[in-house]
C-alpha cells in the first residue's frame, strides 16, 4: 500500500499515526468526573463532589491553543497578556543577550585561536566559568545590575558566550595549514587572511557553536523568566501554574518547543549556507 511513496512521505504518514494514537491514549487516560447525582451520601459529605484538579485532556488543550493563537497579541493588564506578547518578550531577551555574546565571543575566539599563547592563557578561565549554571549568576547579576530585566539578559549573555567562544577558537586554530600557506604565498595581509581565508574556513565550526548557543539560551530563558517574573514565556508558564490553569501550562510548553525548533532551523539553514566540501 505504501510502496509507491517516498521515504519522506512514509515517515510523514507514520508521524501522523503516532500523533493521533498518542492523543487518543492521552484523552482516554483522563478519568471522567462523576456527576453529583451518582455520588453516595458518604462521598458528598467528605467533599467528593468538589471538582478535582486533573490533567486536562488534549481536546481542551487544542481548544485553548485555538483560542490563544487566534488572538495572540491582546494585552489586558500585567497578568493577562496574549501568548504572542509573552513569546515576543522572551525572544527579545534571548536575542539581545545572544547578540552581545556573539559580538564578544567571535572576535575574541578569533584572537584566541590565532595565538597558541592566548589559547593556553585563556583556557583555565574558560574551563572554570563554562560549567557554571547560568542561573547561578542571577543573584550576583541582580545585585550588581539592580534591574531584573537586564539581569535576565545578562544570564542569556553568560550562557551563550561559551560555546561560541570555544568553537570559534577551535575552528580558527584548526584551519588547514595548506590554506594558510596559500594566503602567505599570495602575500595577503593579516586582516585579509583573517577575512578571506580563515573566516570562511572556520565558518562551519563557528556556526555550529552559534547553533549550540542559541539552543542553550532558549532553554535558560524559561528558567530565568520564572525567577525574574513580569513578562515572557517562562513567567507565563509559572503564572498559569499559580492559577492552576494546566491547559495553559501544557499549551505554553508546546509553544516553547515550537519556538526553539524554529530558532534551531534558522541556524541549521545558516550552517548549510557556510558549509563546504573538501
Amino acid at each position: 500500500m505504501f510502496d509507491n511513496l517516498s521515504v519522506n512521505q512514509r515517515a510523514a504518514v507514520l508521524s501522523v499515526v503516532m500523533l493521533v494514537v498518542g492523543l487518543l491514549i492521552w484523552e482516554a487516560a483522563i478519568p471522567a468526573q462523576k456527576a453529583a447525582a451518582e455520588l453516595t451520601e458518604y462521598e458528598r459529605l467528605t467533599g467528593g463532589g468538589a471538582p478535582k484538579a486533573g490533567v486536562p485532556p488534549p481536546s481542551q488543550v487544542i481548544a485553548k491553543a485555538w483560542e490563544q493563537l487566534s488572538n495572540p497579541f491582546y494585552d489586558a493588564g500585567p497578568n493577562d497578556k496574549g501568548i504572542g506578547i509573552q513569546i515576543g518578550y522572551s525572544i527579545y531577551r534571548v536575542l539581545t543577550g545572544y547578540i552581545m555574546a556573539a559580538l564578544i565571543a567571535i572576535p575574541l575566539g578569533f584572537l584566541i585561536g590565532m595565538s597558541q599563547v592566548a589559547y593556553k592563557a585563556f583556557n583555565p578561565f574558560i574551563q572554570v566559568l563554562r560549567p557554571i549554571s547560568p542561573l547561578a549568576w542571577m543573584p550576583l547579576a541582580l545585585f550588581i545590575i539592580q534591574d531584573s530585566e537586564a539581569s535576565a539578559i545578562f544570564v542569556i549573555f553568560i550562557c551563550s558566550i561559551w560555546p561560541m567562544l570555544l568553537n570559534t577558537a577551535f575552528g580558527v586554530a584548526n584551519v588547514r595549514q595548506d590554506w594558510v600557506n596559500v594566503a602567505r604565498t599570495h602575500e595577503l595581509g593579516y586582516l585579509k587572511t583573517a577575512f578571506t581565508v580563515i573566516l570562511p574556513a572556520a565558518a562551519p565550526t563557528i556556526v555550529t557553536g552559534m547553533r549550540i548557543s542559541i539552543g542553550i539560551a532558549w532553554l535558560v530563558i524559561v528558567a530565568a523568566e520564572m525567577l525574574v517574573g513580569g513578562t515572557g514565556i517562562g513567567y507565563y508558564v509559572w503564572n498559569e501554574w499559580n492559577n492552576l490553569d494546566l491547559t495553559s501550562v501544557i499549551f505554553s510548553i508546546l509553544m516553547i518547543g515550537v519556538v526553539g525548533m524554529i530558532l534551531d532551523l534558522a541556524f541549521g539553514a545558516l550552517q548549510r549556507a557556510v558549509a563546504y566540501v573538501e
Binding site: D178, W179, N181, V182, R184, T185, H186, E187, L188, T196, V197, P200, A201, A203, V274, Y276, V277, E278
Partner: protein
C-alpha cells in the same frame, strides 16, 4: 661567471631528532637556476626535497645558508615565488575561477575586476578549463581538474619563480600524462622559471632542462646536475625514440638505485661543494659520460 638568477648557497637544514640530538637532513647544498630554466630535483623520500622547496617558497627557514633571487636574499613568502602544492590547496568554498582570480587580484592590486576575471579565464583556458566548469567548486572537480586549476592559479600570477611540489603525485598515470602536456604548453608560452620536485624519472626527463640528483639523507647532498640533451619541443611519444633518452634514463636509474645510497651519509667536510655537471649526448661521438667541470656551479 655571473651569478645565476636564483642561487642557493650553503643551505643546511638540521632538525632535532626527538631524542635530544640533531638530525642533519641536508648540508651545504649549492646550486643555481637560470632565468627561464626548467629544473627538476629528483631524490628519494627523506632527502629534504620538500624542505628545500619550502625554503625557496619562504614558508620555512633554513638552519643556515641563503637563497638569493636576482641578487637579493629571499626571506618570507612572496608573490614573486608561486607555489603549486601536491594536494592542490584550492580554497574549497570558492569556485575554480575565484580560486584563480583571488590570487590575480592579490598580485595586481590596481587592476579592475573585469581585467582580473579576464586574465584568470585566459589562464584557466590555457590548462583546458573553459565554460561552465570554471564556476564549479573544487569538490565538484576531478583530481586532475583541481590540479589544473592550481597550475592556472600559479601561472596567472606570473611569478619570477614557479615552484612545483610533486604536482602530479596524487594523479593517476593517464591524467598525469595529459597534465604534463598542459604544463609544457603553458610553460612554453610564458618562459617561466620553474623548479619542480618529482619522484617520476620519465616525467623529469620530459619536462626538465636540467635534473638535480640528491643523495639519500641524512647529510643529503645535491650530487649531480644532469643536463637533458633532448631538443624541445618534446612530446612523450617522440622523446623515447631519441638516442639520448635511454642513456640519460639509465644514468638516473643507476644513480637513484645505487649511487644515491653509496653516497649517503658521506660528509664532504666543511668545504661547500657544487654538484657535478653531467652531460650525456649520444647524438655526436660515442663516449661515456664523464663529469665535466661545473658549468652553473655557484662560486662562493
Amino acid at each position: 661567471m655571473s651569478k645565476p638568477f636564483l642561487s642557493i648557497e650553503n643551505l643546511t637544514q638540521i632538525y632535532p631528532d626527538g631524542q635530544g640530538g640533531d638530525l642533519t637532513v641536508f648540508e651545504n647544498a649549492n646550486f643555481g637556476i637560470e632565468k627561464g630554466e626548467f629544473v627538476v630535483i629528483l631524490g628519494h623520500s627523506g632527502c629534504g626535497k620538500s624542505t628545500i622547496m619550502n625554503i625557496l617558497a619562504g614558508l620555512a627557514e633554513p638552519t643556515s645558508g641563503v637563497v638569493k633571487m636576482d641578487g637579493f636574499e629571499v626571506s618570507g613568502p612572496s608573490l614573486d615565488r608561486g607555489v603549486v602544492f601536491q594536494n592542490y590547496s584550492l580554497l574549497p568554498w570558492l569556485s575554480s575561477l575565484k580560486n584563480v582570480s583571488f590570487g590575480v587580484a592579490a598580485r595586481y592590486k590596481d587592476w579592475s575586476k573585469q581585467k582580473v576575471l579576464e586574465h584568470s579565464k585566459k589562464f584557466l583556458a590555457m590548462v583546458g578549463l573553459e565554460g561552465d566548469v570554471i564556476h564549479r567548486k573544487p569538490s565538484q572537480l576531478s583530481g586532475g581538474m583541481r590540479q589544473r586549476v592550481s597550475i592556472a592559479r600559479a601561472f596567472a600570477n606570473e611569478p619570477k619563480l614557479l615552484l612545483l611540489d610533486e604536482p602530479f603525485g596524487a594523479l593517476d598515470a593517464l591524467t598525469r600524462g595529459t597534465i604534463q602536456d598542459e604544463l609544457l604548453k603553458i610553460w612554453g608560452g610564458t618562459e617561466q622559471t620553474v623548479f619542480m620536485i618529482t619522484h617520476d624519472i620519465d616525467e623529469a626527463i620530459l619536462l626538465a632542462d636540467r635534473i638535480l640528483l640528491m643523495t639519500n639523507g641524512p647529510y643529503a647532498q645535491v650530487a649531480e646536475s644532469v643536463e637533458i640533451t633532448i631538443p624541445r619541443p618534446r612530446s612523450r611519444t617522440e622523446i623515447v625514440e631519441h638516442p639520448n633518452y635511454y642513456a640519460i634514463r639509465n644514468h638516473l636509474v643507476q644513480f637513484l638505485g645505487q649511487r644515491s645510497k653509496e653516497l649517503a651519509g658521506k660528509r664532504e667536510g666543511e668545504t661547500p661543494k657544487a654538484p657535478a655537471t653531467i652531460r650525456i649526448d649520444k647524438t655526436g661521438s660515442e663516449e661515456d659520460p664523464v663529469p665535466s667541470a661545473p658549468l652553473r656551479a655557484v662560486n662562493t
